[in-house]
Symmetry: C2
Subunit: 468 residues, 2 copies
């Protein structure tokens, strides 16, 4: 039986894809899957399978998977559930490497025939050693391979990046994909686990840990079939790459909705949080926080320690950031004497010149701002910088004045920013700094502070893994 990991790899880097249930009819999911592959400019071969057609969307169509004249690495299935077992048998015969099973109507339906059907396909797939993602999934996307094997063509427009998302919900995957487009950050892989036939979190995590295109693993979790196994697997990779989890279904009503057993509510939340922590998994409280945290961990260096300098163009954002830093275990420490002296020379006699620094009074003097930021970057006692800059008509040039410095230092110390401006202003400058990996940028100072604290939390996870 082939190795599961190599099957998953063959699937995500498929050289050829067959779509069983391909269609030219917009009302069918098989149409949208075809569109995803074609519009996503997938470079491998695409084989539509549909017994009633000779051509679909301009591509030669085959009446059966068996008749495809060459190898098929990945088979995407979108057909009524009753037909699925036969197709999986075809896949085994054809030596397909992996399956994405979009079809719903298995374990999740009220009628017990769904569960039986799922057992049947699992048996056939396991016998043949074929990994099956789904059933009841929207599909998988590998942006580095330009492979969009999902029913949502728009996923192809997501930027290529280092975050891989494993999700039990298609809706949440769509949400996070769309949010990434709006905020312009990238994904590596987006995987809808669906009802988890023979591929679960515990199978995908080892694969993503090896995957060179994945820097961070983000999990959206509803119910966990075998929590102990998940925590064991995660613990085994502790400190290798960050894993971040957003767990829902902690309320009584959504627990009921996920058909899980209802236990004591507060207890369950605590139990989960404790277990995630022990396994070295960072936890977050919302879909946006999952993305914010993943963004920082996928592109920023880690801080050596928890000493943070808060530098702000205005006092308010600095205070909001400090509140979060302190709550999350970061320390706003005094600068070295040398650094403080340099700052004192650059700022007029205003109150807030110690850490946090309100650079407001020097805000129209780019040379002074540059000097302050530089002296703090050079201060060896400072492990990370939180930089907040709100655009004003009179400080328009400040980001240009800082960009050389940020580029020079951004790979050495974490520089987490909130550069905020009206649409159409500063967008290109910020984008360029983000793409170079010099800074991570957030919509608010609070998000910047929270994400910086996640960098420090992961640094401690890594240290404890290396220490053990």
């Amino acid at each position: 039986m082939p190795d599961k990991l190599s099957g998953i790899d063959a699937m995500f880097n498929a050289r050829s894809v067959a779509v069983v249930g391909a269609s030219g009819n917009e009302g069918k999911l098989g149409f949208h899957v075809m569109k995803s592959l074609i519009q996503g400019r997938y470079s491998g071969s695409i084989f539509p399978i549909n017994p009633g057609k000779r051509e679909i969307l301009g591509l030669r169509s085959y009446s059966s998977l068996i008749h495809v004249p060459s190898m098929v690495d990945l088979c995407v299935i979108s057909l009524p559930s009753g037909l699925v077992p036969g197709i999986i048998r075809n896949c085994a015969e054809k030596d397909v490497k992996g399956i994405v099973l979009i079809t719903a109507g298995f374990r999740e339906i009220e009628d017990e025939s769904g569960g039986r059907l799922q057992d049947e396909i699992m048996y056939i797939a396991d016998e043949a050693g074929i990994p099956v993602i789904g059933p009841n999934t929207f599909g998988i996307v590998n942006l580095h391979a330009r492979l969009n094997a999902s029913f949502t063509p728009e996923f192809s427009d997501i930027r290529k990046g280092g975050i891989s998302l494993l999700s039990q919900s298609g809706g949440m995957s769509h949400l996070m994909g769309f949010l990434s487009m709006r905020d312009d950050f990238g994904f590596s892989k987006i995987v809808g686990l669906g009802n988890r036939c023979n591929i679960d979190f515990t199978d995908m995590i080892p694969y993503l840990m090896r995957d060179p295109d994945t820097q961070v693993i983000a999990l959206y979790v509803e119910g966990i079939d075998n929590p102990r196994r998940l925590f064991e697997v995660a613990r085994g990779f502790m400190g290798k790459k960050p894993i971040i989890a957003y767990k829902v279904g902690l309320s009584a009503i959504s627990d009921l909705a996920s058909k899980s057993h209802t236990g004591s509510l507060a207890g369950r939340r605590e139990i989960y949080e404790g277990a995630f922590k022990q396994a070295g998994i960072l936890t977050v409280e919302s879909s946006l926080e999952l993305l914010d945290t993943a963004k920082a961990l996928s592109s920023s260096p880690l801080p050596e320690g928890c000493a943070v300098a808060v530098l702000s163009g205005q006092a308010g954002p600095a205070m909001a950031a400090c509140d979060i830093c302190e709550k999350e275990g970061l320390r706003i420490i005094p600068f070295s004497e040398k650094t403080q002296k340099r700052i004192d020379n650059l700022l007029p006699p205003m109150a807030i010149r110690i850490n946090p620094v309100d650079m407001g009074p020097a805000w129209y003097d780019s040379r002074a701002i540059r000097g302050i930021v530089e002296s703090v970057l050079q201060d060896k006692a400072i492990d990370a910088i939180l930089l907040c800059v709100m655009f004003a008509s009179a400080n328009e040039g400040s980001i240009r004045a800082l960009s050389g410095l940020l580029t020079q230092w951004g790979r050495k110390k974490p520089i987490v920013c909130c550069f905020s401006s009206p649409p159409g202003i500063w967008g290109e400058e910020v984008k360029s700094l983000v793409e170079k990996g010099s800074i991570v940028n957030y919509a608010t100072p609070e998000k910047a502070a929270k994400s910086l604290s996640a960098l420090w939390k992961y640094k401690r996870i890594r240290e404890s893994a290396q220490g053990g």
Copy 2:
């Protein structure tokens, strides 16, 4: 001595504005203030004051405020601090109705001369009965009057709406203004209170309570000079219009930064939260939450009770929303028998047909979706609807199918949504529903749920105010 409230009103609806320190030089704030007024298409008269110029940005300039040939309602001052007392005397002589004092260098500087200077200008202004906003403010904006009396011309591009922001930080005001542009919602007034000479929260709240263009008052608070007075004023207006506060400076370090007295940390947070609650002020934890909450309260009807229906195109977003609803005191109750029967007829036999409803299985059937939403809207036991819809290529028409229904019901029951889609898709449909006041829309299901809970919290505040 004239009434303070009428002075504030004359200021925010000024028929004429003088800019003392107006300049044609981009390096001066007086240039940017002029640009704000001109580019913002202010319809009143603008009088630049600068002894060295005869014309500034195409407008006739005067050597002194005294020489302006007509009435001046609002005087914006951007001059070195030492010159300010003389200008305030000119304002008194000229019978100016209100002053925006942008100049910094008063109470906030280390040198005690700043405090003395602030006492002096306060004395002159109080004697003359002139309200002074500032010093050390970016200015004020009244979007309904097209009055941008600030040093940030871009504020004129913010949409007109029902939220008025009173802020102790220029940086935070800029941040929130820019966020509103990105998310396309509107403000009524944005007020930078600065160092609060003779106008503080307690003066502005009564004015905004009377102001027909203000539906919600949002406060960004650092330190409060006289907390007891603030809470008394707010309590006096309890239930009239919502007041929402974001208080920073609760950590030891940011407390130090705001030069306030450092007390017991947890105690202070609790004391503040208790006091805000007793005064009927809603509190939030971040700048984004301040805006999210204000957005809902400025445009949605309030729910009659706490019974919420969660309807979602996909199960995941529903579960995330339910977690928040339950935590925040909303109730996800069973539907009436009639409603449940109608839903059962519209959905295939899948598990999640009770509240919350996963409409996924019917997601490509607009008629079914419409039927489900309609039956829930008609269910008298349901006080509010939380509707989550993630775009997929195959459900593109769903929002169009729902829009008539949402328009019909949106002013009767709160319909709080998370319609999420790639940029360029659904934008116009969502915008149209939002502008009609039919729905409030959020970037995530969690934000939608949190904001809906704020509607219910405010409903209870209003009830308790009416009950007392």
